[in-house]
């Protein structure tokens, strides 16, 4: 092949290039370029080695397949993210509901404490006693009874209580 190309002599394009750059470097011909781009075939052992390497499959994918796969992956991640955010928002709403319930219960607790305090207040008890028909005791009606040598029972000494 090489001897045949030598026998043919220089092509018309070659003639033009050689003439365009006198005194300069001579540019390679088109044929020479084509032949130069053709890599020599790999040796079998090296080819086998290369096949055993774990090349990611998409390096061998075409552009269309790559785009479709990318879109699918991005969509999947987006769905996952939105799902997580949705759960978080839902949990937040539940949290708000619980907090609202807590605030309501706290209000009720305060109201009950206030109610108890009002019921236990002296004015309320006096009014309830009055409503039941009771009257305040008159100091003039109180008589003091003196018991000689009386020993009061201590609160802690329950064994001798009557």
């Amino acid at each position: 092949m090489q001897s045949m190309s030598r026998d043919r002599g220089p092509s018309h394009g070659d003639h033009l290039r050689r003439q365009a750059a006198p005194g300069g470097l001579i540019a390679p011909t088109l044929k020479e370029r084509r032949s130069a781009t053709q890599a020599p075939p790999m040796k079998p052992i090296l080819a086998a080695k290369r096949r055993r390497h774990l090349h990611p499959f998409f390096f061998q994918m075409g552009p269309v397949a790559l785009c479709v796969t990318s879109v699918l992956l991005i969509g999947l991640m987006a769905v996952l993210y939105l799902s997580q955010v949705g759960q978080a928002v839902s949990a937040n709403q539940q949290l708000q509901d619980v907090r609202t319930q807590q605030a309501t219960l706290q209000r009720q607790d305060q109201d009950l404490l206030d109610t108890i305090a009002q019921e236990r207040s002296p004015a309320s008890i006096a009014q309830q006693a009055k409503d039941m028909g009771l009257v305040p005791s008159d100091p003039k009606n109180v008589q003091v009874l003196v018991v000689q040598h009386l020993q009061p029972i201590k609160k802690s000494d329950q064994s001798i209580e009557p």
Partner: protein, 581 residues
């Protein structure tokens, strides 16, 4: 390269440069809006944050106030205020044909729940065009529940915390009240910083409803609850004292009155009442009420602010000064013709110019003789031996109680304008002004073996688990224990003879007082009585003062019955056995 190819390449380059230029322009614009305008100019970042990030203040719950038995005196409740949004209602019904119908339905529904607000008023409010109008508040919990359940449009409830006093006017002048976030008068004011706590804050991204999101960035500073206070006041004694005082003021046709009950050993205030008083749950309605003979608003505690001339109760102080210095004994006698003249002072007379002949110092107290008191102060003590005792008994200075008070005043021989007449008059409680608490504390010193304690109202502070207990504080030794015992005997003897404040089974040491005011008619008196019981082992000091009683003007007849009733109730309530079986 041929021309066609060159042209193709030039076109490609042109398009490329055009795209690059456009991208550069976009980037520049992006930089302008994202960076420059974000932080400066329109403050876009700030405005965006304002839309989504809110900083909410978390109010701290105000501390509670209890009495000595754990009874709640002051607490907090949340009540809703009702708002309507007239402007939003108009916007929601711009092109609606049923505007009037919807309005009437809404007004009717509101009126059903809030009957105090007329439909006419509600219609007027809805037609006002304002962004929001408060139509009611605070409403009770039942009404809040109904409104929540109805979910009325263009209506919302705004919760607000209110200070509530379950006992109504119980110890009102001791507690004071809260206006907004500030305590006014009394304990609420004095301990406002402790009670208020510290507000917190929450900065967080919010959702459409303004609720903070837990998923976004947030920071929180928790609120610190206010400290709880426990007072020395006994609610039941306070109620009994207030009720009895109110009845006595009406019965004696007085302009007002004051009662102070002190623990004789510790100085703790068991009860302190004034008439007129007010309801701190509705303090606005008492704004025109005046106490202290019209001198101050009814919000002031008269026991701490109403200075008055104590009158004859001061004679115990005069006797104490002379006894303590060994200048007299209870049996020291002198002649009392009903008047006494001095070379350098005005003549002093007894009430109604009564003369008692030869009488002892005990007799001076029994008869409440001005002549005897002036004789002791002027002729026996003199100003240099009298005024130090007046000062040691706490007159002319604050008692040190843990709330605001007046100090009273009197002039001494070192004051400008003083004359010996002041001395003779001060001996029986004129020309000297004191608060009821000062007089009560003077008798507390006498009751406690001559030891004066600092009066106090707050027994304990619970600051979020950190408990501080207030212990009784000894102030000074006013007179010796011997003097205290002698004077107590004199007072008991006087009380037994007069029988005005005695109660069966108990020995009482009391002195009455009927003070007049210069320039005012003699029938306008400050009738008072001060003393302690049981005299053999004093537990309580009680002072009763009635302002200008008309039914009877004397301390022994106007104030003593009230003193006796309170004393007897105290003995029952605390189960103190009689010391005179």
């Amino acid at each position: 390269m041929n021309t066609a190819l060159r042209r193709a390449r030039n076109r490609q380059m042109f398009i490329f440069l055009l795209v690059c230029f456009s991208m550069a322009a976009l980037l520049g614009r992006l930089y302008y809006w994202q960076i420059l305008q974000s932080q400066g100019g329109y403050q876009l970042a700030q405005r965006a944050n304002n839309e989504h990030v809110q900083n909410q203040t978390v109010n701290a719950p105000r501390g509670l106030i209890y009495d000595s038995n754990g009874q709640l005196l002051a607490t907090n409740v949340v009540r809703d205020d009702v708002y309507i949004e007239p402007h939003q209602f108009s916007v929601d019904h711009l092109d609606s044909e049923s505007t009037q119908t919807d309005l009437q339905n809404l007004v009717h529904a509101l009126h059903q729940v809030l009957p105090d607000i007329s439909e006419e008023l509600l219609n007027k409010a809805f037609n006002s065009g304002q962004a929001s109008v408060r139509i009611a508040g605070p409403i009770d919990p039942t009404q809040s529940q109904k409104l929540h359940a109805l979910r009325l449009p263009d209506t919302f409830l705004l919760p607000r915390t209110w200070r509530i006093y379950p006992g109504s006017d119980l110890a009102a002048q001791i507690l004071g009240y809260v206006q907004g976030e500030q305590g006014m008068y009394g304990i609420e004011r004095t301990y406002n910083k402790l009670l208020a706590g510290k507000p917190g804050s929450v900065t967080a991204e919010t959702d459409l409803n303004g609720n903070p999101l837990s998923v976004g960035a947030s920071s929180a500073q928790p609120a610190v609850k206010g400290a709880d206070l426990t007072l020395t006041i006994d609610s039941f004694v306070q109620y009994m004292v207030q009720t009895a005082l109110s009845d006595s003021v009406k019965t004696m046709e007085a302009q007002g009155g004051t009662v102070v009950v002190i623990n004789a050993r510790t100085g703790a205030v068991v009860a302190m009442a004034g008439d007129p008083t007010f309801d701190p749950n509705n303090y606005g309605s008492s704004v025109d009420k005046r106490g202290c003979l019209g001198a101050v608003e009814a919000y002031f505690n008269p026991a701490l602010y109403c200075e008055y001339e104590p009158g004859s109760v001061m004679k115990a102080v005069t006797m104490a000064a002379a006894l303590d210095q060994g200048l007299i004994t209870p049996d020291t006698a002198f002649n009392d013709p009903g008047y006494i003249s001095f070379k350098d002072a005005d003549t002093v007379t007894n009430w109604e110019n009564k003369g008692y002949g030869m009488e002892t110092m005990t007799g001076v107290l029994t008869h409440s003789a001005n002549v005897g008191a002036a004789y002791v102060a002027h002729n026996i003590l003199g100003p240099d031996r009298y005024y130090p005792y007046v000062q040691r008994f706490g007159f002319g200075q604050k008692t040190g109680i843990d709330t605001l008070e007046s100090s009273g005043q009197y002039s001494t021989n070192k004051s400008a304008g003083w004359t010996p007449t002041d001395l003779t008059r001060q001996a029986f409680g004129q020309a000297i002004s004191a608060t009821p608490l000062q007089v009560a504390m003077a008798y507390q010193a006498i009751a406690n073996g001559g030891s004066m304690m600092r009066p106090y109202l707050v027994a304990g502070i619970n600051d979020n688990g950190h408990v501080t207990t207030i212990v009784p504080q000894f102030l000074r030794q006013v007179v010796s224990a011997r003097t205290s015992a002698l004077l107590t005997g004199m007072l008991v003897s006087a009380a037994d003879k007069n029988q005005q404040a005695t109660i069966p089974g108990y020995s009482v040491a009391v002195k009455t007082g009927t003070a007049t005011t210069q320039g005012i008619s003699d029938d306008q008196t400050e009738a008072s009585i001060a003393g302690f019981l049981p005299a053999s082992n004093p537990q309580f000091v009680i002072l009763v003062k009635l302002d200008r009683p008309q039914a009877t003007i004397y301390g022994g007849t106007a104030a003593a019955p009230l003193w006796r009733a309170i004393a007897q109730q105290l003995m029952w309530h605390y189960g103190i056995p009689p010391d005179r079986p």
